[in-house]
Amino acid sequence: MKDKKLISKIKKSQLLLPVVAMLLVMAVNIIHDAATGAGAFSFFKITLQQTTGNGTILYGRIIDILNRGSEAALLALGMTLVVSASAGTDISVGSVMSLCASYCCMLLAGYGVSSVNELAKPLWLGIIAGILLGCLCGAFNGFLVARLNIQPMVATLILYSAARAIGLLVCNDLIVYVRNDSFGFFGSFLGPIPTPIIITAICIAILSLILKKTALGMYIQSVGINARASRIAGLNSKRIIHLAYIVCGLFAGIAGVVASSRITSADSNNIGLYLEMDAILAVALGGNSLGGGKFNLAGSIIGAYTIQAITTTLYALGVSTNQAPVFKAIIVIIIVAIQAPPVKAYMRKKSLSKTAKGVA
């Protein structure tokens, strides 16, 4: 009896979907590893390894997923707020990432220079400027959505197509390499742990603390559920939506700096390519309704890492980089189809008739 209750509780929980997906991915890995004879649990193995460049570091598939998934997780944080507050998605985050990365590298290398070993400007200036530019882009999106009442997807379409191009322009159509260890730090290691993991953890902690300690989280949700009602209740819904977009841009900026630091260069054409899709997917996978309203930050984060786990697993299975999207597409469709209202209604009807039969 108790078991049943627990099951129904889990069933109702928003975290069901991402957790089940994560478990599935792990199961695939375990089966694959066992089949290839690499040891069934090599997926979970974390070891300490000596390296030439970085001292002793943690190494393992899980660490790799956490490390690689950092950008998607950062973007998913902002995306969750945006989806919740404005019932729409910000499709510009990938491009904004690229723009911030380009701007940061351009500042550090100097305009028109394609490769430097010495920084042209202090490191903090480049980083802060890159992140601030992200906020600015977010503010622009937010202005269009909140003040001009433009559909979020449409409003963010502008920066989606422009930001990457502006990034290229900023870099004078070059790939700018900043070959300096102090810049590379954000993409490498802090002690034995990859820095992106730490940065992401800090961001998650700060954001959840703010959402917990202040009423901001509640405000965002109430605006998402019914903007007019919240306005009548005394909330400045426009300002809250605007804020959500700025926060989203902020995280895109941070993700951009991390991504460019990883490769110590600003490759405008490739940084953050399709990452907005991953972020949106993470939000959907996390059990959040893309129609706005209630949100679940933990779900989005698990969702983001699940997606990275899927990608890593596909590569490990030998699927090529270019072919992997097919599987992603199928996964997306299954996830959204399960959540689709008509399917849900059908399932409910079926289970009702089942219980009815059981009673009879």
């Binding site: 998605t89 499709i91 269009l144 001009l148 009442n149 433009i150 559909q151 997807m153 449409v154 409003a155 379409l157 502008i158 920066l159 989606y160 197509s161 422009a162 990457r164 191009a165 502006i166 290229l168 322009l169 004078n172 159509d173 899709m277 949106i280 959907a284 893309l290 090529s320 270019n322 072919q323 992997a324 999207p325 097919v326 599987f327 992603k328 597409a329 199928i330 997306v332 469709i333 959204v336 189809a337 689709a340 209202p341 008509p342 399917v343």
Partner: protein, 342 residues
Amino acid sequence: MKNKKVSLNSNTILLLITIVLFIVLYGMGCIMYGNKGFTHLQTFLNILITNAGLICIACGMTCVMLTAGIDISVGGLVAMDCMMIAVGLNKGIPAPLMVGLVILTGIIFGLVQGFFVGYLEIQPFIVSMAGMFFTRGMTAVISTDQVSVTEKSSPLYYAWANYKIKLPFGGYMNNKGKEVLPYIRINVVIALIVLVVIFFMLRHTKFGRSLYAVGGSEQSAAMMGLNVKSVKMKAYVLSSFLCSIGGICFSLNTMSGSVQQALGLEMDAISSAVIGGTLLTGGVGNVIGSFFGVLINGTISSIVKTNGKLASSWPNILTAGLLFMFIVIQSVFAAIRSKKTR
């Protein structure tokens, strides 16, 4: 009644702005680069040749956007089409059969997308995003190589691609002393036929009008007795069908298939439609506008390329600037309309 009049007016104003903008831009190109051959008729025809595929795709995009939807899978679908054609022809499949196969694939793909959007009520953006992933990935599944169509692999297709339809007027002598007659290629003819057919379909058929009705208001369309789900599904089928034709036009221009083909084409199509006055909220729009949207995109890129000193990212930035402007204008019109109704 009054309400309808306003929407009609704003619609025409948007179209008018687009056409004026195109003339202004093109005129500027002629004034600035007249000495660099911009005034030749061929410059304009080159814009058509290069963008023939985009014209077809923008027509399909317009139809989907009329139902307040969006289809971002088109770029991937074009890549898949190009790859299918290149690989198929090299395997010895006759060109007409291959063309039929590509169009059939497009229709089936559209049926699936349409089913998810229309009947399962999933957001069009998400569905077509999955569609984009799927088609791009499938392109790589078919072949990760860059495959080309050569004269050996299919003489017929090769002949189609290289066939010049020379126009009897507007010829000139170039600086090498060769006479250059203006010409178009087959893909332009296909694109213009598609444009005219879709224009009349939207105007004069029941299906065309039902697209507007569904986009205008789903509830009232349903009350009018329209099967909203079916109309939406058909819109996606139409879009993918036109996109396949566009893919063939695109392939006739590039004659090769690769995974990177047509990257970002979906955004070109969407921005063309928006610049052409199609509302992303649905119910308002016209393929003629989208056609001019494509021409504006082409003109900007042509001007930047003719200048030869500007960074190649400028066309994207300028197009995005125009997009911004039109979106803001649209929102202003929307504001007027909602005020009038209130």
